[in-house]
């Protein structure tokens, strides 16, 4: 891998074929349908969207678990689709994966030492004397002290927060350049979430990591990333710097998301929230044109259901895929 780590995703499509009875075709699920973004060294980006929008599929494709159906994922100049065998192995050691379910992400029959040792063994760090110091270092980085006590423990002996720290340690142990965190705190208690997010941010800054943070909860993204991308039905509908997005959300979906997230305020109990009707679409048969049009309060008949909007860059770094902005910012 070259000196400057970077991640560039260009017009990525990831489609899954549905098979009927093992043979016939029943359709195509367009999980990721034309996504483009880039990450520079040390940059942290949040990918926000609801379940079923394709964000997990995108994460898995970046991790090399799925193959792109079209488009490309370029990591530090190398196209993932062109990597073979050993090179793919090398790529995998450059990317760390932190999953949503801390307990499920850990093999229940392996202890901490073994869990952390596995990526090392797979990457040919064969002698125990070489592995042991790296394992200890990883545990110290995620603040699982005292290291001695944790090494022989099994996952079920750890609390949720500790398990997730272990998952992060495992993701970090090969000193990757990119961390992909898919809903890392959604299954944790509210009080532990901030701790883990602070830990991730600390590690990211210390090691100048690229971070792709995937979540459905915008409020956790605010303090821990620099940019936010909003995903809906397989497409990125808006992306901007954090403050810019939160102060000036443009896409109707982004606005709905922001409006739907409460801050603790007693007045909330007295008012009904304005929520777009309906549900996220089935990715097997997505709506024509702009995929949000069936639920959009600002639906333009004759345009939105006919043609998919391209990305409009209203301000440097702030892109929105919505026909409302085809001629710059509207008056409102």
């Amino acid at each position: 891998m070259q000196a400057e780590p970077s991640l560039v995703v260009r017009d990525l499509h990831v489609w899954f074929e549905l098979r009927r009875w093992g043979f016939g075709r029943a359709g195509v699920v367009r999980a990721v349908d034309g996504v483009s973004f880039s990450l520079g060294p040390g940059e942290a980006v949040a990918l926000v969207g609801e379940s079923g929008c394709g964000k997990s599929t995108l994460a898995r494709t970046v991790l090399g678990l799925y193959r792109p159906s079209a488009g490309e994922v370029v990591f530090s100049g190398k196209n993932l689709g062109e990597l073979r065998g050993g090179e793919m192995h090398g790529y995998r050691s450059q990317v760390g994966y932190v999953q949503q379910d801390p307990y499920g992400a850990l093999p229940p029959f392996m202890n901490v030492r073994r869990i952390l040792g596995e990526p090392l063994v797979i990457n040919k760090v064969s002698r125990r004397s070489q592995r042991e110091p790296r394992i200890r270092e990883a545990l110290e980085e995620v603040k699982l002290f005292p290291v001695e006590e944790f090494l022989p423990k099994f996952p079920h002996m750890l609390s949720g927060g500790q398990q997730q720290r272990l998952v992060i340690a495992r993701a970090m142990i090969m000193k990757p350049k990119l961390l992909v965190a898919d809903e890392p705190v959604s299954m944790l208690d509210a009080s532990v979430r901030v701790e883990i997010l602070e830990l991730l941010q600390g590690l990211q800054r210390l090691h100048n990591l690229m971070l792709l943070y995937i979540t459905h909860d915008l409020s956790t993204a605010r303090y821990f990333v620099e940019r936010i991308m909003v995903m809906y039905a397989g497409k990125i509908v808006e992306q901007a710097a954090v403050d810019e997005l939160l102060d000036r959300p443009l896409h109707p979906y982004t606005r709905a998301l922001i409006a739907a997230i409460p801050d603790p305020d007693a007045a909330n109990a007295a008012t009904f929230q304005d929520v777009p009707p309906g549900e996220p679409p089935n990715l097997l048969h997505p709506p024509s044109g702009c995929r949000f049009h069936p639920r959009c309060p600002a639906f333009i008949r004759g345009l939105c259901e006919v043609q998919e909007p391209p990305d409009f860059e209203l301000q440097p770094g702030h892109l929105v895929a919505c026909w409302l902005y085809q001629s710059g910012l509207p008056a409102s």
């Binding site: 509210a190 979430r193 605010r222 303090y223 739907a260 409460p262 801050d263 603790p264 007693a266 009904f272």
Partner: protein, 331 residues
């Protein structure tokens, strides 16, 4: 809460301890609170503080290894703990108090139609005939915003949000005055969460049910709660009106809880609470939050009482001693 208004639910010194190989787990350790009609009380706390056990304790849904189960629970003035099992089952569960358990939407029977499941308590419990039960079930589904033709669908055909609404309909269908909800929105997306909270608000307004909402999500609780109770290590540490709690919590733990909530609008960077909640087995003699509290002092070695600092506002902390006047805060 108006003084003198009849109370729907009164809990006094409720205790539920479990027997385990390592000792007695004091999950619910002497809780006392009250809830009026058309009111929603949110019980906030971390996992492991005993809040799920509170729901079980009130509804007498006990496992085999119960060590202690004492206290008094009054529903509309009638004492529940003294009822025998049969009467409790017939009169209290589902028709007096119903429960939407944690992850209930994943516990729908996959091989029975959704409508059947909503109708079931009416047919078996209330002995309605199927026609009437079906009508009541349709009404319940309408209340929660589920199209009536979903009565004949199976659980796997519904999205997560729809399933949660169905489960809420099941809790409503027997018209109980009190509904207990344990983490009703934790597994759902943001927009779906907002929808569900709208549904609950609508039910509170139109049907007039009271809610006991158990959650760790402080922000979501503000969507429904009139009163807030904060639980820590099996005990109630603060109890008060939402209007007073959210802008200014009293107990140090409540304060820490509020600052740990990441906010979308305004506010400062969230801070996490260092340390871990204590084990519920053999809790310490003094204030249980003291090890993690930045305001602790000598007196905290003694367990403080739950004190009414203002009418309707209770705190369990030596910073608010028993005989002080209302309004004296420290820190």
């Amino acid at each position: 809460m108006k003084a003198g208004a009849p109370l729907l639910l009164q809990v006094q010194d409720l205790r539920l301890y479990f027997r385990t190989t390592r000792g007695a787990v004091q999950a619910v350790d002497g809780l006392s609170f009250a809830l009026g009609h058309r009111q929603a009380l949110a019980v906030l706390g971390e996992s492991g503080c005993g809040k799920s056990s509170l729901a079980r304790a009130i509804l007498r849904l006990l496992p085999r290894n119960v060590h202690t189960y004492t206290g008094q629970v009054f529903l509309n003035g009638a004492e529940l703990m003294s009822l025998n099992e049969d009467r409790f089952r017939r009169e209290v569960r589902w028709s007096g108090i119903s429960l939407v358990a944690q992850a209930a939407m994943n516990s729908l029977n996959p091989v029975i139609k959704v409508g059947e499941q909503v109708m079931e308590p009416l047919v078996t419990h209330r002995r309605l005939n199927r026609e009437e039960a079906r009508q009541r079930a349709s009404k319940a589904l309408q209340l929660v915003g589920v199209p009536v033709d979903f009565l004949d669908r199976y659980a796997f055909e519904l999205s997560g949000g729809m399933r949660q609404r169905v489960v809420i309909a099941m809790a409503l269908v027997a018209d109980p005055p009190l509904i207990i909800m344990d983490e009703p929105t934790s597994a759902l997306d943001v927009l779906t969460q907002a929808n569900i909270m709208n549904v609950l608000k609508g039910i509170k307004k139109e049907v007039g049910s009271s809610f006991l909402l158990i959650t760790h999500d402080v922000a979501t609780s503000s969507e429904l709660a009139d009163r807030i109770a904060v639980m820590y290590a099996g005990q109630l540490v603060e109890l008060g009106d939402a209007a007073g709690f959210f802008p200014g919590p009293l107990h140090p733990y409540s304060k820490k809880l509020m600052t740990s909530v990441p906010r979308l609008r305004g506010g400062s960077r969230p801070e996490f609470i260092p340390g871990q909640p204590p084990s519920l087995i053999n809790p310490s003699a003094g204030c249980r939050f003291a090890p993690r509290c930045s305001f602790r002092f000598n007196r905290c070695q003694e367990d403080p009482p739950l004190v009414e600092v203002e009418p309707g506002q209770w705190v369990k902390c030596w910073l608010y001693p028993a005989n002080s006047n209302a309004g004296s805060h420290a820190g």
